[in-house]
Symmetry: C2
Subunit: 154 residues, 2 copies
Amino acid sequence: MQLEDNKWMEIAISEAISSQKYSEVPVGAVLVDLQFNKIISKSGNNVVRKKSPIAHAEMLVISSSVKKLNKRYLENTAIYVTLEPCAMCATAISEARISRVYFGAYDEKKGAIENGIRLFANNSYYKPEIYSGILEDKCSHLMKKFFSELRKNK
Amino acid sequence: MQLEDNKWMEIAISEAISSQKYSEVPVGAVLVDLQFNKIISKSGNNVVRKKSPIAHAEMLVISSSVKKLNKRYLENTAIYVTLEPCAMCATAISEARISRVYFGAYDEKKGAIENGIRLFANNSYYKPEIYSGILEDKCSHLMKKFFSELRKNK
């Protein structure tokens, strides 16, 4: 299964790289149908382009997937995200009943799964299976490079 | 100021009541421009109608306000919500830099401000001013009535 996981994460990474061209923080997400082993939806961050602070990659993937499938819950799916989801996205993933979360880099500041509020330690929320550190080096390198260039250009 | 706060909360309550007609959990939200003292956007829950688990009143108000104002941050605004925001909405409010949050009923299960994860006790997130319990009885009565009728009809 690891090869398969890396394959989906590579696609999330491509989404992150594409969004970076528009000065977006390079985060990408892919939702995979676990029954048919195919992509339902993928997206990078769109905060800059949409001028919306809530247009995170995961939120856009959830919105477009429920629309595409015309159903409220995304059971039997897995989301691959290059960065540990924040509290907004982790809650949205839970509300959407996504079965599994695979994330790449850890986010000590705003991450809400292994860091910070550790949302799923709270029993009020539906808890997906969590797999962390998938292609971590590649995912975190993207972020570090982005912020280091941002500092240089200031 | 209390009369003014009650006035905006009454409008949020109207949004909650309107959405209930469509079997939505009765939650309403209003975003107010603090400089001009006028409504920017208002909405009820749209989870059932949009078949989207993330279409909470607050999320819709934020999306439509940033679109309307064509800017990423909603500084100098106040959001009035009939129910204590969940972790997703509380984070979205913070990411949008909304200055003040006024909420009505407390949500012991999924509330994320005075309950549960208490998001703003976490220093990684921008913290708005919080005013809770505005027209609390009216707001919580709406919720209790909705869930009691739901149980009766099961």
